[in-house]
Amino acid sequence: MKKSFLRVLALLTLVLGLVACSNQGGATETPSEGDTGGDAASTSKSFFINPKSIGPAYWAAAEKGVKQAGEDLGVEVVFNAPSTTDSAQQINMIQDMLTRQVNGVGVAPNDPEAVAPVFSNALSQDVQVVTWDSDAPDTDRKYYIGAATDAELGEQFAEMIANQIGGSGKVAFMVASLSAQNQTAKVDAATAYLEANHPDVEVVTTVSSDDDQQKAYENAQNLISTYPDLKGLVGFAGAEAPAAAQAVEEAVNAGNIEQGKIKIAGFAVPSLVKEYLENGTIEEMVTWDPSKLGYTTVYTLNLLTDGEDVEDGMEIPNVGSIKVNGDIILTGTDVLTKDNVADFGF
């Protein structure tokens, strides 16, 4: 009995020690002074910014913008999410942060329908709610902050690939998830756009990588081998385009297809596709800076909690001018080419 008691004691010390360390070293909270327990008394505002999951580099880039905004505006920001894109865990976490009495939450919902109850709950406690990166239009959220709407992006991707392959031929879509609303919405828009404007472009299939780069890469390999007359691959999420480019480049090197036969379009993170743009495997891609989304989210929440509002065309420091269309705030997209890829810092 004595022995096991000692063991528990040791265990507790270890776990709590780890907690203490990680809390200090975790750097999840901007103000390094100020003890976490003490924020009840302080009058400074705190916001909870919730991406879809923690870990993917896209969100790590967004976190930089969030932290920057926290520092610039003098507010406390907590950036956290479940380690997988799990809707239930995400909602539990939002609920926990509401208990902590944050003043505002910015959420990139994994399931746009499921966040509705917790959003209403937040509003009833006078907590401002916005969505970012991925919208939940049928909830009480005040604004959605995105680079562009999913429909616009889907159409932009479609136009880009149609343009590159000369308006006719087979293309395949590569998505990160078959159930994420911001992926399916883009796919639907792109499909509709191609049907209406480029009837000769045929979408042969849509494959999903489940956010796993190896799977994305193998998907691309299998597509190239399944459809010998494939002319284009469209990547709808960050991991898809580089995986597609890697597979295409390999097929070219192995002599299976000719250089330039398969074009790649869609969304890309500049640092991931830099070498493929430079060696010509990819011609152009659509991109946006997730850190700008993060910055704008915190900035908007700060305005809202001050009782102010955003305006169309207003300038946000470090971001630029924003477009406000009803309850949607757009920060804009860029077209990435080999000439400008070096200019992006993410």
Binding site: G55, S208, V269, L272
Partner: protein, 320 residues
């Protein structure tokens, strides 16, 4: 010749061949040499990891941490290569890191006597955290061209990943079936108490198996990094443990240990890779891929079990 059908691997080999024929019939592209080469390349990472997993399962253990070990090693190797270190040196350092991860597992399992599934469930979380911490949450990417050797290079005409997997499989196939070390692994799984009484150091054997498993996983990690071209520590290799365990078990190994062969495992891995590739090639609807994969898996298990009970029935009458 008739003995072939009594072998434990017979059902899985037959099943693989049948499925191979079905895929060839449905899709004309399946049988192309390019595509067959593609399947072989795609199974190398799971293949290498499954060699280690086979040994672990043979002595009655299980290793859930392989995906996280892969992430740690891929991240470390990727960062080293990007820091200008020679890819081969980086790969060797990666193997050392993999061996350390394996030793960590082995230490808790063999010396502190904590069950395998618990230790590796824990280290699955811990190694994943370490991998993300090392990478700083950012993509490790834009590797120099020299690093492509591990995915696109060739040794005497054979692509490097396939050569590495084949070497690993043959080497450990030999070790398992022909050496004392191999017989010990089987003996521990077959009967722990007896093995202990017979004076075998089960600890040392287990420890060595986990270290080998870690090193095999790190070779897989190097290939992974080179193939995929960019590593995201939080997701790299996550969930791979299920594919690998399924491959080993479908290949005829028993989860209770003592039963299983390298040949069966190789076919298990091949079967899994073929399903993945074949389902895309048959142009099946994307929503049907998972359901069909699961169905084929269960079919494979059923066939295995039927074979096993037949073998058993012929020896032990009505026991099962």
């Amino acid at each position: 010749m008739a003995n072939i059908f009594k072998r434990r691997e017979a059902p899985i080999i037959l099943f693989t061949i049948v499925l191979f024929c079905i895929f060839s019939l449905i899709s004309s592209n399946f049988l192309k040499p390019d595509n067959l080469g593609l399947i072989l390349t795609q199974i190398t990472t799971t293949g290498l990891i499954s060699i280690g997993m086979l040994m672990v399962i043979l002595f009655g253990g299980i290793d859930l941490s392989v995906g996280s070990v892969l992430a740690v090693v891929a991240t470390v190797v990727g960062m080293l290569v990007n820091a200008g270190i020679n890819p081969f040196v980086a790969a060797l350092i990666g193997m050392v890191v993999g061996a350390i991860c394996g030793a960590f597992n082995g230490l808790f399992i063999a010396w502190f006597n904590i069950p395998e599934i618990i230790t590796t469930l824990a280290t699955m979380f811990i190694f994943r955290g370490i991998a993300v911490a090392i990478s700083g949450g950012e993509w490790v990417t834009n590797f120099p061209d020299s690093f492509n050797f591990f995915s696109q290079g060739k040794i005497i005409g054979i692509p490097v990943p396939i050569a590495l997997f084949a070497t690993g499989a043959i080497m450990f196939g030999y070790i398992l079936s022909q050496t004392r070390f191999g017989r010990r692994v089987y003996a521990i799984g077959g009967n722990k108490e007896a093995a202990k009484l017979a004076g075998m150091s089960t600890r040392k054997t287990k420890f060595l198996v986990y270290i080998s498993s870690g090193m095999l996983t790190s070779v897989a990690a190097v290939i992974y990094a080179s193939q995929v071209g960019s590593i995201q520590a939080s997701t790299a290799g996550s969930g791979i443990e299920f594919t690998v365990i399924a491959a080993v078990l479908v290949g005829g190994a028993s989860i209770f240990g003592g039963v299983g062969t390298m040949l069966g495992t190789a076919f298990g891995v091949l079967l899994m890779g073929m399903i993945k590739n074949g389902l895309v090639l048959t142009q099946a609807s994307v929503y049907w891929v998972d359901a069909t994969t699961g169905f084929i898996l269960i079919l494979a298990i059923i066939i295995n079990t039927v074979q096993r009970s037949r073998n058993l029935a012929s020896r032990e009458g009505d026991l099962v």
